[in-house]
Amino acid sequence: MNFDDTPEEAAFRARARAWIADNAPHALKPELEVAGFGHLHLQSTDALAASKAWQKKKAGAGWAAPRWPKIYGGGEVSPIEQVIWGQEEGVYAKLAGPFVIGLGMCGPTVMHWASEEQKRSLLPRLAAGEDIWCQLFSEPVAGSDLAGIRTRAERDGDEWVINGQKIWTSGALDADWGLLITRTDPGVAKHRGLTMFFLDMKSPGVEVRPIRQMNQESSFNEVYFTDVRIPDAQRLGAVGEGWSVALTTLMNERQSIGGSMPTGVPELFDLCRDMDLLDDGAVIARLAKFAARSSGLRYTAFRSISALSRGEQPGPENSIGKLVAGSLMQEVAQFALDLEGEAGLVEDPLLAVHQGRFQAMLLRSPATRIEGGSDEILRNIIAERVLGLPADIRVDKDLPFKEIPSGAAAR
């Protein structure tokens, strides 16, 4: 038990740190430090341009996609080295927002399923931030039930014609490429009639509409397809094999390790200190329970890092992060507003207590409990994959897709 690097890790860390000291956009640091949840906004410069510049610079030195093969624009570092890189990159990692989906999900899928030629043309541009990728999976009627998607792809010679709608697509407005799952055969069982493509987002017939969230930000979009044409060469995997391709993508979704998610607990401590409430028994009781959960998340992430450092795969403990963090942040926000009294009604960053950060948490945390796997889906995953309990009964498993009941909400 120790919190020290191995000698190899220490050497790597020193190298990363030195490179960052020489190359990072230090002028942006103060702004990045206070940047909150959601889309990055910068006062001093265009955030997307700053993001692209930093990504490009990282790519030149192999830091852009640290784990990837060098031939595809990567740095070929080990898993623990990637974690160390992330620790050292610190606030500058907030600049990577536009590339997270591409690097974390689309890239690995392309790497597994595309032709060598495609990989060599697409991946280095992705790594260098020259192309932005988005993931076109969820649909209005297919959220937790992803295999229920309905966007049609119909073959027309060497091309496919796409019609339908996707939703919850992060970054679609800026994206150059999209990873698109479609239904090519509604006459077979739902998991069997799917096919995956990658799509030029500038193709005719693609329309992106931002979704306004309850907190008035727009992190997500709807994407509509009207007779959009995709060359068959941009198919990933065989026709009807789309579900297997999607599993590659989704498995990568859950692999991010390193930081634990924000919980609001340190901020709540600051609030209580400023309000002189740290001797109030009611505050102590809640604060201690919150802190114990937050601390548990932190050291759970440390355990995963320790496994990487030993060269092992982290265990299932990593699966609890978002489930705990989402509702913890919501409870923390509600409790903070309880402490603020009537002043908690004010959202105005200029007037509100602690710049309105708890009001922002209150309005952001419901999304955390849903996006990327709802609390209910995560509990099912833990129950089934970690504890080995039986899967839910699926009444639609063997039905032809078009015969599956879909209710009024589907129309």
Binding site: S138, P140, V141, A142, G143, S144, D145, G148, I167, W168, I211, R212, Q213, M214, N215, Q216, M275, A282, Q330, Q334, L337, D338, L339, E340, G341, E342, A343, G344, L345, V346, E347, D348, L351, V353, Q359, L362, L363, P366, A367, R369, I370, E371, S374, D375, E376, R379, N380, D392, R394, V395, D396, L399, I404, P405, S406, G407, A408, A409, A410
Partner: protein, 368 residues
């Protein structure tokens, strides 16, 4: 025993519900939010003409003189409809304070105009973070002039009259302040529930009139908030019921894995817990209504109990309603967040749970 409303009262409630369904569809709420208005003046005029919210103001002062039980049921419908109206400020608090402690002249001057909706009144106590307490009040009256800053003031931008808690030689007193007076400046501040807007008000040597006995301001605020807490609890159970109904309907109509999501135990049990929480709050609120209507000595305990459980029920129902709706639940377009925001407004506006938990235990203690 009848811990329930009469048939006549239920009939009134049904009328009020039909009225709001017609006059206050959700588009009315959204119009107020999108426009940045304080409330819907047309709706306010209609409600005032019907005398719904003036139910508990005696006829002698221009009210409907129906009574508090009726007002509770109106409040439930206000909550269900998410009506963008200054009821908590003007009726449940300001009018009640004037009724409770105003001079005959003050009552005659203000109550008929509040009852008719011509005057919107509010109460300005808070100045800083934390629940109401003497040491958090630095606004001050000397020589009959008020100086200080109050925030947040619910409906403060549109109110004509404010009852302001301020420091004087005898301690904290309440003052009636005509907000059209010289020396008053105010601005809107962004509210967590934009359908219930907030303001900051600066008083710079504003002429005021004492309301109630000097030095008894905090006691009066405490007493009126016991009464208002019960009315707000009815808004909360109305809102919580609406959120539960939304979640239930969505769970029945939304399919995943070939069946309605309402058939999965995770959703069924979440909704069952919402129902349980709501029923507990409803029962406590009915008891609160009885205590309010009869001015029972149990009022402080009943009020704190109703408020603690109604805050919890509306929080739970509004956040689980979002959860039931999945991704759509956190869009601006769906109405789930309107309840989530309103739940937070109602949880904050008369002081938050920790304050009421203290009041509950203190009342239980002195009752035992």
């Amino acid at each position: 025993m009848q811990l329930d409303f009469s048939e006549e009262q239920r009939a009134l409630q049904a009328d009020v519900r039909r009225f709001f369904e017609r006059a206050c569809p959700i588009s009315t709420v959204r119009k107020v939010i999108d426009s940045g208005d304080s409330h819907d003046p047309v709706l306010w005029k209609q409600v005032s003409e019907q005398g719904f919210l003036a139910a508990a103001i005696p006829e002698a002062f221009g009210g409907a003189g129906a009574g508090y039980l009726e007002l509770c049921l109106v409040a439930e419908e206000v909550g269900r409809a998410l009506a963008p109206l200054p009821a908590v400020s003007s009726l449940y608090q300001a009018a009640e304070l004037i009724l409770m402690t105003g001079s005959d002249a003050q009552k005659r001057t203000w109550l008929p105009r509040i009852a008719s909706g011509d005057v919107i009144a509010t109460v300005a106590v808070a100045e800083a973070a934390g629940n109401v307490a003497a040491d958090l009040i630095s606004a001050q009256v000397s020589g009959g002039k008020l100086t200080g800053r109050k925030w947040p003031v619910s409906d403060g931008l549109v109110a004509d009259l404010a009852i302001v808690a301020a420091r004087c030689d005898q301690g904290i007193s309440l003052y009636l302040v005509d907000l059209a007076s010289a020396g008053v400046s105010r601005r809107a501040v962004k509210s967590i529930d934009p359908s219930r807007p907030q303001a900051e008000i600066l008083f710079d040597g504003v002429a005021v009139e004492l309301l109630g006995a000097a030095g008894e301001g905090l006691g009066l605020i405490d007493a009126v908030r016991d009464r208002a807490a019960i009315l707000v609890a009815f808004e909360q159970i109305g809102g919580a019921q609406a959120a539960l109904d939304m979640a239930r309907d969505y769970a029945l109509g939304r399919y995943a894995f070939g069946r309605p999501i309402g058939g999965f135990q995770a959703i069924k049990h979440m909704l069952a817990d919402m129902y349980v929480s709501l029923e507990l709050a409803r029962s406590n609120s009915y008891y609160g209504a009885w205590a309010l209507a009869t001015n029972a000595p149990q009022l402080p305990l009943a009020a704190a109990t109703a408020r603690v459980s109604a805050i919890e029920a509306y929080k739970l129902c509004s956040s689980n309603n979002i959860q039931t709706h999945g991704g759509m639940g956190f869009t601006w377009e769906f109405d789930c967040h309107l309840h989530y925001r309103r739940a937070r407004y109602l949880a904050s506006v008369l002081g938050t749970s920790p304050l009421w938990e203290r009041k509950l235990v203190a009342a239980y203690r002195s009752a035992a």
